[in-house]
């Protein structure tokens, strides 16, 4: 590896009203290395990368490319300097083909017409060279998330980018896909590309990164060679204290059945097929039941049906013996259901409301906060300050901060504080730790286990196998809207779960469906 830096960000300072997102941070990227950028939520990782990609202009500091000072004012200038970025949420056109998505914005033309043939040849050549195999005529909406990510990578390569930024690329992938991505990244680095890899997953850093820059609260903590360090040290540098990486919990003591789902069916709004197909299960007090599966296999619709956000097609849901399948959301909540939604900005929060107003979203009508139709502002403030303190929600101006201006992790903490404090018997938690750092994850895991130990039930939906395996007392795997297997976390492996999640294996567990019967005959 050469010791020349392709990108140097020196003494970058970026401020936002009320907060210093980056304070005097320097980052140096060598040619052909995979450089991880590690930090808690709100540590300033995304801000720093946005500065490099031209989305923000820093107040202080310079950026050097190949030793020359450059100024990057917008993403187009970043692209012309051959800096490319794969965003956490892909920027692809669903109805376009893979090829069209790759050339979008950098089309080759002949007499003003698109020259797809030249582009096709080039994309094929690139995909062969870097081992990114993909059907380039397929439509984006028809291919898996993992494949879509390859399209994003090919997009960068097509533009001759040699500095590739990956913003939390593994959040949406299955274990198998993650392994493949790691291999691809290694190939890319081997071919001379330099990679900046934003993550808070320590395993991935240990697996692929050469060096790692660690940020904490907008400041630089240090740069380490990955081969000279270990996970414990990294997490300590990131959080500033020692973190429990393995969840500590006692054996669960299950009580009576709290919720029973009986042959639940839901229809997909877009494709008009059954997105949830005859799903039945029950959950007892004192257990954490986890629904595992690849994103988009009906978990979302299942939860929408149970919590009442969408209407169900058929089936029954009993909570404490009451059929709630067609009950209003408010009544379900009052009966003892609390819900940490998957999409925190769409459902979980009102971004333009203050933090305190968000914290009372499900209790503003109770006598504690309402009197004669008026809000009791003093009580609301007091309550908000209590939760902010208890759950360590950090924000610029405390209770009156607009939630929109808070970091993603703290937004999530606000939701969790609100939902846990309602003290409901059943907690439905969908990806409660998505986008959070190890410190915050540790806290949330502890709280979920505390809920369980208090005799409540937790229905957890998670895409992270580590979380599934370490936290749950029972695992159901969902594939294409059906439950395809039930597992004891102590007796199964990541690989086994992965096979079920991908649909390569299925059990005729105790919930036979019509389709299974037909196949079985």
């Amino acid at each position: 590896m050469e010791d020349k830096y392709v990108i140097e960000m020196l003494h970058i300072t970026k401020k936002f009203p009320g907060i210093v997102a980056n304070e005097d941070i320097s980052l140096q990227l060598k040619k052909g290395e995979i450089h991880a950028l590690l930090g808690e939520n709100g540590a300033g990782k995304s801000t720093l990368m946005s500065v490099l990609f031209g989305l923000y202009t820093p107040e202080e500091g310079i950026i050097k490319k190949d030793g020359k000072v450059v100024s990057i004012k917008n993403p187009n200038e970043a692209t012309s300097l051959h800096i490319g970025m794969v965003h956490q949420h892909f920027k692809l056109v669903g109805v376009f083909s893979v090829l069209d998505n790759i050339i979008l914005g950098a089309e080759t033309t002949k007499y003003g017409y698109l020259d797809r043939n030249a582009a096709r040849t080039r994309v094929k050549e690139l995909s062969k060279r870097y081992g990114l195999f993909i059907d380039i005529e397929a439509k984006i909406e028809d291919i898996t998330v993992g494949m879509q990510q390859r399209v994003e990578i090919l997009k960068m390569l097509y533009r001759d980018n040699d500095i590739l930024i990956f913003d939390e690329p593994t959040a949406v992938l299955t274990p198998q896909e993650i392994d493949e991505l790691m291999q691809i990244m290694k190939n890319l680095a081997h071919e001379g590309k330099s990679i900046l890899f934003i993550t808070h997953k320590l395993d991935e850093i240990m697996a692929v990164a050469d060096r790692c820059t660690i940020l904490r609260k907008g400041r630089l903590v240090g740069v380490v060679n990955v081969k000279d360090t270990n996970k414990e040290e990294l997490s300590k540098m990131m959080v500033g204290r020692k973190v429990q990486l393995v969840v500590q919990k006692d054996k669960c003591k299950t009580g009576d059945t709290l919720m029973k789902v009986d042959n639940l069916c839901m229809t997909d709004k877009i494709h008009h097929i059954l997105s949830v197909n005859n799903v039945s299960f029950d959950i007892k007090r004192g257990e954490i039941l986890c629904i595992a599966g690849i994103d988009g296999n009906g978990q979302t619709d299942l939860i929408y049906g149970i919590t009442g956000i969408d209407k169900i097609k058929s089936g029954k849901v009993f909570l404490k013996g009451t059929d709630i399948a067609n009950l209003q959301i408010r009544k379900r909540n009052l009966l003892g259901m609390s819900h940490i939604p998957e999409d925190r900005q769409k459902y979980g929060l009102i971004l333009d409301y203050s933090l305190e107003n968000n914290l009372i979203m499900e209790s503003y009508f109770t006598p504690k906060f309402e009197k004669f139709g008026f809000l009791r502002k003093k009580n609301i403030r007091k309550y908000a300050l209590k939760l902010i303190d208890e759950y360590d929600i950090r924000s610029g101006q405390g209770a009156i901060t607009k939630v929109r201006s808070m970091s993603g992790g703290n937004q999530q903490k606000a939701i969790i504080a609100r939902e846990l404090d309602r003290n409901a018997d059943l907690l439905v938690a969908v990806q409660p730790t998505r986008g959070l750092d190890v410190g915050a994850i540790e806290g949330i895991h502890k709280q979920l286990i505390k809920e369980r130990d208090e005799g409540k039930a937790v229905l957890l939906v998670s895409l992270e196998l580590d979380e599934v395996l370490s936290l749950s007392d029972r695992i159901l795997v969902m594939h294409k809207g059906e439950i395809v297997g039930e597992f004891d976390p102590k007796k199964t492996t990541r690989q086994e779960l992965g096979l079920y999640m991908a649909g390569a294996k299925r059990d005729y567990v105790k919930f036979p469906t019509r389709e299974v019967n037909e196949n079985g005959k």
Binding site: R216, L220, L349, I350, G373
Partner: protein, 394 residues
């Protein structure tokens, strides 16, 4: 900890500190809007007749304040206030729905059916003024609730159904009024309301205060009272909390179990009721009879401008409604040798057009002010070179 130090306000003078308040910024944006409107108006006057332009624009700004006699000034002030009251109400109507994420372009139609209800109640049923007023509120409210119903249960876009209901309301009003005993078939308008003294809004002797203006009544106080009530409802009540929550994020409102359908209909009922009340505050002063119009009264549409120019704040709406009425009515004072009276309509049209930019001006202002703020901070930092690079470690 370090963060806090950087954020703590440096010693700004009072002026700079005031500039950072959101309210002050909103007011500034509206004022900038009015000034630009007048400036463009002035340029238009210059183009038509350079000689009289300055006098012309000053006449428009001064309006009745240009009169030498105090009693005359007061009289026209009274007149302007009488015209302001209904505009405040339609402005509030738009604002209230807007806070719930609904664009009530139907305020004009709700205003029309409100006019129909109060005139019919007053002149055919001979009801006293307060019952006429309640009729207007209910009629406007129902007209609004219809829009809300279609939106909530059939997912019909509120703008489209409201525009159609505007016309339905207009022709329905024409049919009802022209067919009733209130219609003067010779003049093709309703009989003057002064024949039905019961239905006239009381003026509590205000006509004496305002130089004998016949049309100044308690209407303006009712309008101001409602502005205050709306502000309280939006900011202090549970209903206001739900309403704004629905406006900001419909999905989250649903997620936390608010009855969104009921809220949409109720919001539109109240919004329509406010517009209906506006009509009552206008027609029950007797300022104008109902003509069988072939267009929907403009008051409802001007209400859109009033609410936006007022920074979507109920109290701001009071002032913006006054400014719009003031400039609109100034046309009569213009020197008709040089300009047609419509020029003031043009200027108010420009201001109204610029109302759409209030949000934009505000955004720009905030940007400039914050930038200023940051620059001065970084300047301060440069003077004492930072040393923090080593502190961050373990």
């Amino acid at each position: 900890m370090e963060n806090k130090k950087c954020v703590s306000p440096k010693k700004d003078n009072f002026f700079l500190r005031a500039l950072k308040l959101e309210g002050v910024q909103s007011v500034l944006a509206s004022i900038v809007c009015i000034i630009i409107g007048l400036l463009i108006g002035y340029i238009v006057l210059l183009c038509i007749n350079p000689g009289g332009a300055w006098d012309g624009i000053m006449t428009i700004i001064k309006n009745f304040m240009g009169f030498t006699k105090t009693s005359l000034r007061l009289k026209y002030l009274g007149q302007t206030l009488a015209n302001t009251a209904p505009l405040i109400m339609t402005g509030l109507s738009i604002l209230f729905a807007y806070k719930a994420g609904l664009f009530n372009i139907g305020a004009a139609g709700q205003y029309t059916v409100g006019a129909c209800a109060c005139l019919y109640a007053g002149m055919v049923w001979n009801l006293p003024w307060y019952l006429c007023m309640i009729c207007a509120i209910i009629a406007g409210g129902i007209w609004g609730a219809l829009v809300g119903f279609f939106k909530a249960y059939l997912n019909v876009n509120e703008v489209i159904s409201a525009i159609m209901l505007n016309w339905i309301g207009l022709y329905l009003t024409n049919i009802i009024i022209t067919g009733s005993s209130a219609w003067d078939t010779t003049k093709h308008e309703t009989f003057p309301l002064s024949n039905y003294a019961n239905a006239l809004l009381p003026n509590l002797g205000l006509d004496n205060v305002f130089g004998g203006s016949k049309y100044v009544t308690i209407a303006i106080f009712i309008a101001i009272l409602f502005a205050v009530i709306i502000m309280l409802v939006l900011n202090l009540t549970t209903f206001g909390y739900e309403l704004k929550a629905t406006g900001f994020n419909k999905n989250a409102a649903k997620y936390c179990g608010m009855k969104e359908k009921r809220n949409i209909i109720l919001t539109m009922f109240i919004s329509g009721g406010l517009a209906g009340l506006g009509a009552s505050l206008y027609y029950q002063t007797g300022i104008q009879p109902w003509y069988a119009n072939s267009t929907v009264p403009a008051m409802g549409f001007t209400g859109i401008s009033a609410s936006f120019l007022g920074g979507l704040n109920p109290i701001g709406t009071i002032f913006s409604a006054y400014v719009i009425t003031h400039i609109n009515s100034a046309g009569a004072q213009l020197d008709t040798a040089y300009y047609s009276a419509q020029i003031s309509d043009l200027i108010s049209a420009i201001i109204i057009y610029l109302c759409a930019f209030v949000g934009f001006f505000k955004m720009y202002l905030v940007k400039i002010l914050n930038k200023d703020n940051l620059q001065s901070k970084s300047f301060k930092r440069n003077k004492t070179p930072s040393d923090s690079s080593n502190q961050g470690g373990k």
